[in-house]
């Protein structure tokens, strides 16, 4: 049997929008069967996962909070992936951004007088650190032709271990009984809360602003144009005189900066101190989010919200229905696989040709 893929000429906005919805429904049906097999009501599970988190002000804020780093990182990554540059080390850039930005928070602990400079400096340092860290694989790629996929991935682990070392060693709270965490930041080093209830912090605003800026840059600037052209047709771009090397460096810098900013936003927002580990895998999940969102900033926002929703709904399912966390993970994995597959189906006309081999 052979599978023939033909790019769809008649690709419409409708099929584009419909594909992920159908994939989502398919995942729901499969998930429903599993839940029923475990002796729970699929309807109750559906409500807990997808309705309950949207029905309360607080959980809506939590969904936004969880989606913010994913959306911010994925938006940066969209520039890379559109330009056919493969930065898969956003997790490391996130960690480095959190570490170096957080360092300012630790160093400024107890500072008196005017402390208005602390938070902007933290954010700037975090973004720059992420950017510089992302430039390592970019330079290795440009100068030495080393595959950026692999070096950026390797550097994730180096970053995680560096943070681990710093949080357990030099940046440890001296009054903290040797426990592996830094001092808690002063208020001047924390992102302000946007709403009463001390949940939704300004990190969400940063992510939203980044999405707006990214949309404009992609649509309206020469840089955005270059990224799109290279992605669509590398050869055409070369003829047009765009430099591969400069573009690689630029998109790595953008995505690293976004990831670093997300890292410091998380540290200065929700966490409020440095710990040996600051990310439950945001940098990796963001890669999936970027593709689920079809590399467009608005699509990414939607994808990030869906992932955030299932995570928070999964917590509710543990509490209310005593469904195991592993079920949520398996469901997320399945959902992602199905959406990626459906996306391909909306891009290509698939024909099964029996008998022949591909």
């Amino acid at each position: 049997m052979r599978i023939d893929l033909t790019p769809r000429a008649d690709r419409s906005a409708l099929t584009d929008a419909l594909a992920p919805v159908l994939a989502f429904l398919a995942a729901l049906v499969i998930g429903g069967f599993v839940v029923a097999a475990m002796g729970r009501s699929p309807a109750a599970a559906f409500v807990t996962y997808f309705v309950a988190p949207l029905s309360e002000v607080w959980s809506l804020q939590e969904v936004a909070l969880k989606a913010a780093p994913l959306a911010l990182i994925a938006t940066g990554l969209a520039f890379c992936f559109r330009a056919n540059v493969w930065n898969i080390g956003a997790e490391g850039q996130f960690v480095v951004g959190g570490l170096f930005g957080g360092w300012i928070g630790v160093a400024s602990h107890g500072a008196t007088g005017n402390t208005l400079w602390v938070l902007p400096l933290m954010l700037a340092v975090g973004a720059c650190a992420g950017m510089l860290y992302a430039l390592i694989p970019a330079l290795l790629k440009v100068r030495l032709g080393v595959s950026e996929i692999l070096t950026s991935l390797m550097l994730v682990y180096v970053a995680e271990l560096l943070l681990d070392y710093m949080a357990r060693g030099p940046l440890r709270d001296p009054a903290g009984f040797n426990f592996p965490q830094s001092v808690t930041f002063d208020d001047a080093a924390r992102l302000p809360y946007l709403m009463e209830g001390d949940t939704l912090h300004a990190g969400v605003a940063i992510a939203l602003a980044a999405i707006v800026v990214a949309t404009l840059v992609l649509a309206r600037t020469l840089f955005g144009f270059t990224v799109r052209v290279v992605g669509a047709s590398p050869r055409a771009a070369r003829f047009a005189g765009f430099s591969d090397a400069r573009l690689t460096l630029a998109v790595f810098a953008v995505s690293g900066g976004a990831a670093g900013l997300a890292g410091i936003s998380e540290v200065a927002g929700k966490i409020g101190q440095l710990q040996p580990s600051i990310s439950p895998g945001y940098g990796f999940t963001a890669i999936i989010v970027a593709f689920l969102g079809r590399l467009s900033p608005v699509g990414i926002l939607v994808a990030a919200l869906v992932i955030a929703l299932t995570t928070i709904g999964g917590e509710g399912a543990q509490i209310d229905l005593k469904l195991p966390l592993d079920l949520t993970r398996a469901f997320q994995g399945l959902l992602l696989a199905l959406v990626l597959g459906a996306d391909a189906l909306s891009r290509y006309r698939v024909r099964l040709v029996p008998g022949a081999a591909a």
Binding site: L54, E56, V57, W58, S59, L60, Q61, E62, V63, A64, L65, K66, D164, R168, G169, F177, N178, F179, P180, Q181, T184, M195, E196, G197, D198, T199, V204, L208, E266, K270, I271, G272, Q273, Q275, S277, I278, S279, P280, V298, L301, V302, L305, I312, E315, G316, Q318, I319, D320, K322, P324, L325
Partner: protein, 358 residues
């Protein structure tokens, strides 16, 4: 985008106050929530806490309802704790040190709910802390090992150099020295709480270096299994791991939170709960030694005697004179180490031939 807008609109319409409204929902039946850092299936620390949750449900029956969240990353724990607080839980156990700041923050938002944080040192009017004097059990293990070792060398698989681990090593060594002043202790730091493969490798390394009895402060049963395979002896950790190594396990330091958890839940039900700091040991039944096995009767009898002596206070693992590695006197003869010293222990006792990682 739409969802976030919806959230903001909803907030403007409703105002805030969900927190207060939620709190009132708690009925006479007490809902007790648990937050674990690891999977309940780790057969170690989180598993043991989950046993206490089950014991609570069994002991108080209809008067309580329990739920738990597992595998909660410390950097992402605030939401998990708050979702328990918002779903009508009146008493919440947060069982990892890294949950300290998030617990305090959520507790501040929900002044009427009661929180119990394990192994931390910061408290509030509605946040109690509790931990166990594991070092008491380790002292007895040390005595047993000192009596049984043929090579005169013991092995210790350590996780991270926090005070709980360091005081455990010291107590183990002091116990061993009390029966064999020339005993040697080899320590391997694996920098993880849970990695069966690495723990097994560490066990092999220690056995190859001549240690014939292993103790561990990591969570998996891999070191015990390795000892069993090589016909050596070892101590279990957190739970009774006899089933993994019936010929090797001498005893195991079992975290028994059952009594404490039941007592606290009762206190909340009776309205007598008050914030406090509990540091329970063998006397309180919080540190339990699994049945002594694989040792001669006289060693068993002496271990039982030590257990009784520690329980009635005639024996204290850190009774002076205790000397630090460099020879300075830490505890004077006739005195016992005060609790703050044990809680912040960051030095080895004399006779340990290893450099404490800082």
């Amino acid at each position: 985008m739409r969802i976030v807008q919806g959230a903001l609109v909803a907030v403007l319409a409703l105002g805030i106050g969900g927190a207060q409204a939620q709190e009132k929902k708690a009925s006479e039946k007490l809902k007790v929530g648990f937050v674990y850092v690891g999977p309940v299936a780790d057969y170690g620390y989180s598993y043991q806490h989950d046993q206490s949750r089950k014991a609570l449900a069994a002991a108080l029956g209809d008067r309580v309802e329990t739920s738990f969240l597992e595998n909660v990353p410390e950097a992402d724990s605030e939401r998990s704790i708050e979702s328990l607080a918002r779903s009508g839980h009146g008493l919440i156990f947060t069982t990892s040190f890294g949950f300290m700041e998030p617990t305090l923050k959520v507790a501040k938002k929900f002044p009427k709910l009661k929180f119990e944080h394990a192994t931390g040192y910061k408290r509030a009017a509605n946040v109690a802390t509790y931990s166990a004097r594991f070092y008491e059990g380790r002292y007895i293990c040390g005595e047993i090992a000192g009596r049984l070792s043929k090579t005169g060398t013991l092995g210790y698989i350590a996780s991270f150099p926090i005070p709980e681990v360091v005081s455990g090593i010291n107590a183990f060594m002091l116990g061993a020295q009390s029966v064999n002043p020339n005993i040697k202790l080899k320590i391997v730091w694996v920098n993880t709480w849970f990695d069966p493969g690495k723990e097994a490798e560490a066990a092999k390394a220690l056995l190859a270096q001549g240690a014939d009895i292993l103790s561990q402060h990591t969570d998996s049963a891999a070191p015990l299994q390795e000892a069993e395979k090589q016909g050596k002896l070892a101590f279990g950790q957190s739970s009774d791991q006899m089933r993994f190594a019936p010929k090797a396990q001498l005893t195991s330091i079992v975290d028994d939170w059952d009594g404490y958890v039941i007592q606290e839940a009762k206190a909340v039900l009776d309205g007598t709960w008050k914030s406090h700091d509990t540091w329970g040991g063998i006397k309180d039944g919080m540190v339990v030694l699994a049945p002594f096995a694989n040792m001669p009767d006289d060693v068993k009898a002496k271990a039982e005697a030590s257990k009784k002596a520690i329980a009635d206070g005639t024996l204290h693992p850190f009774r002076g004179p205790v000397f630090k590695q460099d020879g300075t006197e830490a505890v004077k003869a006739g005195e016992t180490a005060p609790d703050p010293m044990i809680l912040g222990m960051n030095w080895y006792v004399k006779g340990i031939d290893d450099k404490l990682p800082q």
